[in-house]
Symmetry: C2
Amino acid sequence: MKATIIHGGFDVRVEEVPDPVLLAPTDAVVRVLLSCICGSDLWPYRRTAERPGGPARIGHEFLGVVEEVGADVRTVRPGDVVIAPFMWSDGTCPHCRAGVHTSCLHGGGWGDDRVDGGQGEMVRCPQADGTLVVAPVSPDDARLPALLTLSDVMGTGHHAALSAGVGPGSHVAVVGDGAVGLCGVLAARRLGAERIILLGRHPDRIAVGRLFGATDVVTERGDDAVARISDMTDGLGVPHVLECVGMQSSWDTAVGITRPGGTVGYVGVPAGVTDGLPLGTLFTRNIAVHGGVAPVRAYLPELLQDVLDGVIDPSPVFDLELPLDQVAQGYVAMDGRTAIKVLLRP
Amino acid sequence: MKATIIHGGFDVRVEEVPDPVLLAPTDAVVRVLLSCICGSDLWPYRRTAERPGGPARIGHEFLGVVEEVGADVRTVRPGDVVIAPFMWSDGTCPHCRAGVHTSCLHGGGWGDDRVDGGQGEMVRCPQADGTLVVAPVSPDDARLPALLTLSDVMGTGHHAALSAGVGPGSHVAVVGDGAVGLCGVLAARRLGAERIILLGRHPDRIAVGRLFGATDVVTERGDDAVARISDMTDGLGVPHVLECVGMQSSWDTAVGITRPGGTVGYVGVPAGVTDGLPLGTLFTRNIAVHGGVAPVRAYLPELLQDVLDGVIDPSPVFDLELPLDQVAQGYVAMDGRTAIKVLLRP
């Protein structure tokens, strides 16, 4: 089969690799219908230092049709359309039972060791019962792109909003106009937020943000953004702030606009945060920091239902679709911010 | 009157200063019945660099009898026994109304500018209506030491426990066996915690911790403490951790023992945290960080009622009582950890 391999900085290629086979009785093999490129895939993509482990599979968001299941698999069957969360997990360990599937004692990531990456034609899925969620749709359903967002970005935006304590009537700010930030806007609206301030500066992204429920847009950055939001909130700041970038500058903005006693809900992979969190400022203003790598598996059933019911449609985050063969162009587009998020069709 | 002045590192003295007078119609003048020394007073005490502002008043915990009130004061009257939270606040600004009195738009600290410190015979109290809480007791009530803890340490321990999300049945760990950590134990028990692991190594402090409700004691430190608690929790960690010290080492321990998806409730003044918070670890394990300078004014009424009802008695944190004249000995005792917390009687 064909799969994407990252060889080094700015070097991803589609290559021929062995077809996956069942290795454990809890495995399933899934034929990928749709995959995509994540903002977090850009971190290894931009890392020009030699890769310590050599070339590797990449991609952690996909949905597809089950081809084959191991003898112990009970909840998915060949022919099912399934959504894969961006990490696999057994669903039964204490952390999974507590809803923190990303800390599963028997889980892991796609593209690690002998597990396939999502940006390919097929994937061997470990812990299929715990990991895969059946979507009651056909393989040509028009909602597949919306469902694919539940693999990561929509669940991650939801985690940011939940972690920030967003609820009915909340006043919210979202730092970051990438796909996760935009999904954070949609998640905040879904949870009943009354005011949603999106911090972003790209007209195409802002348009999606408005569609998703942003009531205000702040295009300033850094200290200017902090001053602008102070003006907008009578100098008080915003009680619920979603940090959806993971850079030092975005963290500085997020903390700077948070109201005393408020919460920063964060999901941006902290790849660019070098100074650690400013504990003194957090302490003085009683700002909570809550979030992390999103346990999207925990949220998949309820978000799936809302997509099927038409309550939410996160699919506008995909603004470029490419065949898998052209995955390299997709990385170029996302790295250059000419695309918000790239859909890949094997 | 007499009041404590900090002149520099390891140099506090009781000196004669002018008696306070009403400066604003919202002021009250309070004659101090009891005051005490806080662990956070040790930070300036240990700072041997020259004080930038010169000698200053010190002390932020006291209770006393109202001597005189300004024309606009409505809720306290001369003769009332009142408890002062460790910061003063108007009680009416948006932050106070949201329960974050420490961020009051018109508040401040004791010993700043022209406001007296608590370690003296009298204090001018700004914003008396917002700040002072009347205790319906006589000036010779035996519960005054217990009530004095509501000025800071007991409310601060409660803030740590609340911030950590402690509730009925919770499993909790408390990092720090100082007065605040011990009050954190008591607060966790009051909130219904089922298991309370106290990390400490001083037998006298551990005894108070046991009295306050600690079910387990861990005397190891650093990595050994993390390993010990991992053993005690089947490798999972503790869901609710109270950080009551504020040093880099105590933070490392607190984060190290927190279960994925758990919360560090913190109140230790981060005077010794140089590296910032380890965002990568927090992210990977979904550990929330929640707390800060405790808005004890918000908690005073309910904690006061519980002290009066005999539900809690935090007074065992005071293990040394001195007359105000001997305040310097009190600092020596707390700096040398021969006393947990020193009560001062003017």
